[in-house]
């Protein structure tokens, strides 16, 4: 069996859905961060799959950008996590709702 672009897309879709679900349902700050990473990587996979299929390097360049930005995002997210933990002694995002209308 040859691996076509459809396989990649299905994997990417599954990864993305798992990540998205994680973001929606988990309460732990760290888990949510990891879920976001998962979604980003799903997108990367998607980009590279199409890049390969269309023989266009732009998609790969984009995915490298995404990885770079994801690194920054992870750093900021972890910093936020630490300062949040110092203030509230917990990582439950339910506690971070003082800005409601």
């Amino acid at each position: 069996m040859t691996i076509t672009i459809n396989h990649y897309l299905v994997v990417s879709f599954l990864l993305f859905s798992i990540g998205f679900l994680g973001v929606l349902v988990r309460r732990n700050f760290l888990t949510i961060l990891m879920s976001i990473e998962l979604m980003l990587n799903a997108v990367n996979l998607n980009l590279i799959a199409f890049s390969r299929r269309l023989s266009d390097l732009t998609g790969q360049v984009f995915s490298i950008f995404v990885i770079t930005i994801a690194a920054g995002e992870a750093a900021i997210g972890l910093a936020l996590t630490i300062s949040f933990f110092r203030q509230r002694k917990t990582l439950d995002v339910e506690e971070a709702r003082t800005m409601q209308g």
Partner: protein, 728 residues
């Protein structure tokens, strides 16, 4: 160098901008930092866990030492020193000899106010009759003289301030203001037309206000600043009316043009010039503290002492004399205005000197002395001796700056004490200050062969030989006043010297322990100024052939007026020597009386005299109640009483109209109120109710949980994609 004329005022202006900006951005007032700290305190757990408490320590450091003190010092003193070098460069570039022969250098920077063409007036512009004002800087012998001593004395006083103001929190603010003052003063001196002169004139007034009120948290300083500003406005009102008059009459404000026009065709302008001169003189009275507008200058002593020395003794207050000397062509064509100038000058000289006799504040004595000496200068201008007046301006700048800085050094040594009754015996403790103060005192008293001996003698001789066709006896009377004032000057200055430096110390033990000589940044200017107050008189030696070099230097400003015979008086040598002998005798009597009454007699004779004539003594110590009279007449009488009168008029006459109108309005407003209440308010409330209902709905969506938002976002995306797939 002479083409760099524009840089001379620019450098202090840059200094002002740098100092001012740095001070604004770095200084912390006490109130602010407290408020800040309190803010941290209330948020308790933040402060406890906050990892960055560096913020607070940064604040504390600001209280103890002055931020950027070195920068303020370098920029503040350096900019004025550079201006001084540029000024001397420009002067020597044109050349002293060339100045004396009437050379001048003008640079026009840009057209400032183009006013279009006016055919009616514009005689001296030739064909087009175009009205305009340019930004023109001009240096001739008169402004060269002013420029030289303003920048030089200014540099010395800036240097002095480094030591004197060293412990002040507002160090940067002080130097920013001082630099701004130098800028304004240089614009005043270099301005090539009346309007630019006026800009500088107002600029120095503003800086004077800012610096008098430097200790703004003290009421008396803030009040003194306001008083100076308001009194100066009265003078400036006259001055600007005078400028309007000049513009209306000549169609130009350029000094060379208007003076040349007036000198060439005096008959056309003479009828108006008396009024213009009197208006200009009102301005000079305000700025140069002449009766009746002198009241602000003694109060101006509330400012720091270097300010008193620079602004209220050496430079700004002489601007009035400079302006009158500048307009000498006008004044010479208006003999009646000249009489007013002479009489006001002589009266102020005598009046202020008598007040100075009974003051006990070291700076107040010097302030009244300044008013008195300015009176001398105006007396000189009033009898047509403009060059002699400017000569005295120059020597006065040196010795009075030296006296004020010496007084500042004394106050510094005494830890802020200004009352001479609590001083005494300081000569041995602060020797440099004492020696320089002694030299300056001898100079102002008119001791032979020191600077003021020559300049005062030149003025007195000019007054003695003056001729007033309207009032022939006046010059001799004025001479008597001037001579008596010279004696009084010697008396009160030696009284000041005796009480401050001789005898025994009369202050407290702590003060005696505290007394110390000032740092060298303060003593060096003192020594330089003392030296100059000895030698600066030798530019104007009378009797000797070509001895009066300053007179020859300033000669070009006296444009010859066509049809006006003015002959220099060459009095016989015996008369000249007699006048000098009289001056020396009077000064000696003054010095002897001060010495015998205060040094030898320890103040018994003056006390007896005061007891004998209590009325006179009370009047003199209370400055003739002039401030009280102004308070009664102008503040209470005109401002408040006039206000009450206008209120009465308003309540009885003017109110009839509004009352009638009010009745009509009331009726109309009833109708309007009905409409407003039911129609307009109905609309407004209806709209508000709709929104109220809506917001109740929408606020539920704002839960504050990111996951809710993400879910809605995902749902929305799903719906959109689904719709796209279904309906494409």
């Amino acid at each position: 160098m002479k083409n760099l004329l524009w840089a001379i005022p620019l450098v202090p202006l840059l200094g002002f901008l740098i100092n001012g900006l740095v001070y604004l951005l770095t200084h912390r007032t006490r109130g602010e930092s407290h408020g800040h700290g309190g803010g941290y305190g209330t948020d308790a757990h933040t402060a406890a866990t906050a990892p960055d408490s560096a913020h607070d320590t940064g604040h504390d450091a600001g209280h103890h030492d002055i931020p950027f003190k070195g920068l303020h010092t370098v920029v503040g003193v350096g900019s004025v020193a550079i201006a001084c070098l540029l000024a001397f460069g420009a002067i020597f570039d044109v050349g002293l000899k060339a100045f004396a022969e009437g050379a001048s250098h003008t640079i026009t920077l840009w057209r400032w106010i183009p006013l279009g063409v006016n055919q009616a007036v514009g005689q001296i512009h030739g064909g087009a009759g175009e009205w305009f004002v340019d930004v023109t800087l001009r240096i001739d012998s008169l402004s060269a003289l002013m420029l030289a001593f303003v920048t030089f004395v200014g540099s010395l006083i800036h240097l002095y301030s480094v030591g004197y103001m060293g412990h002040e929190e507002g160090y940067g603010r002080f130097f920013a203001y001082l630099n701004l003052f130098m800028f304004a003063m240089l614009v005043l001196v270099l301005g090539g037309n009346f309007l630019l002169l006026f800009v500088g004139w107002e600029g120095v007034g503003l800086c004077s206000y800012l610096l008098i009120g430097y200790y703004y948290e003290k009421d008396f300083a803030a009040d003194a600043g306001k008083k100076a500003f308001v009194v100066n406005r009265i003078g400036d009102f006259g001055f600007i009316l005078g400028i309007f008059g000049v513009f209306a009459l000549f169609g130009s404000l350029d000094f060379p043009k208007v003076f040349a026009a007036a000198a060439a065709n005096p008959a056309a302008y003479t009828p108006y010039l008396t009024v213009i001169c009197l208006l200009l003189f009102v301005g000079a009275c305000g700025k140069s503290a002449q009766f009746p507008l002198y009241v602000w200058l003694p109060d101006a002593m509330a400012g720091p002492t270097p300010v008193s020395a620079l602004i209220h003794a050496a430079t700004m207050v002489t601007a009035g004399v400079y302006m009158v000397a500048r307009c000498n062509v006008f004044f010479r064509l208006a003999p009646n205005a000249m009489i007013v100038v002479a009489v006001v000058g002589a009266f102020t000289a005598l009046f202020a000197a008598t007040i100075g006799v009974a003051q006990n504040d070291i700076k107040k004595v010097l302030a009244y002395s300044t008013v008195s000496q300015l009176g001398y200068m105006f007396l000189a201008c009033g009898v047509g001796a403009f060059t002699e007046g400017m000569f005295h301006v120059t020597t006065h700048a040196f010795f009075k700056a030296c006296l004020f800085l010496g007084a500042g050094s004394v106050i510094h040594a005494m830890g802020g004490e200004q009352d001479i009754r609590k001083m005494g015996g300081l000569a041995g403790k602060i020797p440099t200050t004492y020696r320089t103060f002694l030299i300056a005192t001898l100079t102002i008293s008119g001791v032979p062969f020191l600077a003021a001996f020559f300049s005062k003698d030149a003025i007195k001789a000019a007054v003695f030989h003056a001729e007033f066709h309207a009032v022939p006896w006046l010059p001799k009377a004025l001479y008597a006043v001037a001579l008596f004032t010279a004696g009084l000057t010697a008396f009160y200055m030696f009284r000041l010297l005796t009480l401050t430096f001789w005898g025994t110390f009369r202050g407290t033990k702590e003060q005696e322990h505290h007394v110390h000589e000032s740092p060298s940044t303060m003593t060096i200017p003192l020594v330089v100024l003392a030296f100059l107050s000895v030698v600066s008189g030798y530019v104007g030696v009378p009797i000797i052939e070509h001895g009066d070099r300053i007179g020859e230097f300033l000669k070009p400003i006296r444009l010859p007026i066509s049809g006006l015979e003015e002959h220099a008086h060459h009095a016989p040598l015996s008369v000249e020597l007699g006048l000098m002998a009289a001056a020396v005798a009077v000064a000696s009597i003054g010095i002897y009386l001060a010495w015998s009454w205060y040094a030898k007699g320890e103040g018994r004779t003056p006390a007896r005299l005061a007891a004998q004539w209590p009325g006179v003594y009370r009047a003199v110590t209370n400055k003739y109640f002039v401030d009280e009279a102004y308070e009664r007449v102008f503040v209470q009488g005109l401002a408040l009483g006039g206000g009450r009168f206008l209120w009465e008029v308003d309540a009885t006459v003017v109110d009839l109209i509004p009352n009638g109108a009010a009745a009509v309005t009331k009726g109309a407003s009833w109708v309007a109120a009905f409409f407003d209440q039911y129609v307009v308010d109905g609309l407004v409330n209806g709209v508000a109710n709709v929104f109220q209902a809506l917001y109740g709905l929408f606020r539920r969506a704002q839960t504050g949980r990111v996951q809710n938002y993400a879910l809605v976002m995902g749902g929305g995306l799903f719906c959109l994609v689904a719709a796209y797939l279904l309906f494409r």
